[in-house]
């Protein structure tokens, strides 16, 4: 029983910790785009 309570508490802490960190420090969702390592022309690609 103690183990169960401990695991539930740990789980809750993990979730709460994650949500807290998400609110305060938004995750980088990889939607920023670096320019290409090659030169980019008007007809070329970004990447």
């Amino acid at each position: 029983m103690k183990k169960l309570i401990a695991s539930v508490a740990l789980g809750t802490l993990l979730v709460a910790g994650f949500l807290f960190s998400q609110d305060n420090q938004p995750a980088d969702t990889a939607m920023d785009l670096e320019p290409s390592i090659f030169s980019i022309g008007n007809t070329g690609s970004f990447f």
């Binding site: 789980g11 993990l14 979730v15 910790g17 994650f18 960190s21 998400q22 938004p26 995750a27 980088d28 969702t29 990889a30 939607m31 920023d32 785009l33 670096e34 320019p35 290409s36 390592i37 090659f38 030169s39 980019i40 022309g41 008007n42 070329g44 690609s45 970004f46 990447f47």
Partner: protein, 420 residues
């Protein structure tokens, strides 16, 4: 280039064995010594070997080849017409096949970059493999480009750690060489992009600043804009938003001056993401929409903007607009089954199932395909987002055990991401 490695390179290109080339001229053991520069053969022997390989020893022609090579190498670094680059490549290819040129090795090394610019990754890899056999004979200048272009191949392949190792080896060669400033700036810029991909923010700022100092003196507007975009991304990551916006605006200004649509829309995409992370959804949508509505922008960029809009609209529960963007994304991807856009297909389908509340399809897609795909590609940022989305979904349907499992995955991945 010494004649020995030159003969070896031509023999390998023509898929000849040492025995085949040496037959009737010298023993194949002696040929091996010539190729590996362990002996100096007589001019007669060299002449016979070159004749068998179909190569002329013509000094005057070599000067022309050298000039043509320099022109072509330059085209690989600047914004240029691909057709022009291809035409010059064909011409050089014909000349190199029949004439002994000092520039051959440098030309063969630059072919790696040429294939990458044309998007022919497999050809680039073949070229790397064939050059690996003679790489021990490269001088410092050859090595500089050899490492740099191998790094370019790794970058194109998404292997940024390996790419960084190669760029650092190229950088180590700089103090042994007297290279033009723009060559150094180009390497620094490439390192800055790679640091940014690896989320080494401060290093990316450092190298982008160094490259920018040189590109600015040379009035290279496009390269300056590319550096400003990198700085904009890096300052956003360390939450220096004003500095980030300033850099993006400078990039956009330079894009306007050069009338370069790709630079302008790349800036809009990044400004959209900046406002999204700041919580200013209206502004984010404004910038993303500019990219989506521009028909001149390439497919990859439009898909990035469309998927960004799907996420924004979904997060503010704007169902109609989310559906509209999903449809737009599907339209853009219609008939495409390539690996290049697989990530976008997963994103669009995930939101499509989520919005239609097709629970089984949603779970099966995210668990069986999308998450393993993100893990395989070490795409931690997206893994956090979609593991979290799955966690929320299970929480909503009261499957708390599964919910905790995916929140935990998101949490651990997030730690991985910030430790990168």
């Amino acid at each position: 280039m010494e004649i020995g490695p030159y003969i070896k390179l031509h023999r390998i290109k023509q898929e000849m064995t040492q025995a085949e080339l040496a037959e009737g001229i010298v023993s194949f053991a002696y040929l091996s010594k010539i190729e590996n520069q362990k002996t100096e053969a007589s001019p007669d022997v060299i002449s016979l070997l070159c004749t068998r390989l179909g190569i002329q020893l013509d000094n005057e022609k070599d000067i022309t080849i050298k000039e043509k090579c320099q022109q072509w190498f330059g085209q690989l670094f600047e914004v240029n017409n691909k057709e022009e680059i291809k035409k010059n490549y064909k011409e050089l290819e014909e000349l190199m096949e029949t004439t002994h040129s000092e520039s051959l090795v440098m030309y063969e090394i630059h072919k790696i970059r040429y294939f990458l610019i044309l998007g022919e990754k497999e050809e680039a890899l073949k070229q790397i493999n064939s050059l690996a056999e003679i790489s021990s004979t490269f001088d410092s200048l050859h090595q500089f480009y050899w490492y740099k272009f191998k790094g370019n191949y790794n970058s194109t392949d998404g292997e940024f750690n390996q790419a960084m190792r190669m760029y650092k080896l190229a950088e180590d060669k700089l103090n042994q060489l007297d290279l033009a400033e723009e060559e150094i700036a180009d390497l620094h810029y490439t390192i800055a992009v790679t640091h940014s991909k690896l989320r080494n923010t401060l290093e990316s700022i450092d190298y982008a600043d160094r490259a920018l100092d040189i590109f600015r003196i040379q009035y290279n507007f496009i390269r300056c804009a590319q550096c400003h975009i990198l700085l904009g991304i890096s300052y956003r990551r360390i939450k220096m938003y004003d500095k980030s916006i300033k850099n993006h605006n400078l990039a956009k200004h330079l894009g306007n001056l050069s009338k370069n649509k790709q630079v302008i829309q790349l800036t809009n995409q990044n400004l959209g993401y900046l406002h999204s992370t700041k919580g200013d959804i209206k502004e984010a949508i404004h910038y993303y929409t500019e990219v989506v509505d521009d028909p001149e922008v390439d497919l990859n960029a439009r898909l990035t903007a469309v998927t960004s809009l799907i996420k924004e609209y979904y997060n503010i529960y704007n169902i109609d607009q989310t559906k509209e963007m999903i449809e737009k994304g599907m339209e853009l991807l219609e008939g495409d089954v390539s690996e290049t856009y697989r990530l976008y297909r997963y994103v669009i389908n995930t939101y499509d199932y989520a919005i239609k509340q097709e629970k089984e399809k949603f779970e099966s897609l995210v668990i069986d395909e999308f998450i393993p795909y993100l893990r395989k590609h070490k795409d931690y940022a997206n893994l956090v987002v979609y593991a979290n989305m799955l966690g929320k979904h299970y929480e909503k349907v009261s499957k708390y055990k599964d919910s905790v499992k995916y929140y935990k995955l998101a949490n651990l991945t997030y730690e991985e991401l910030v430790n990168l």
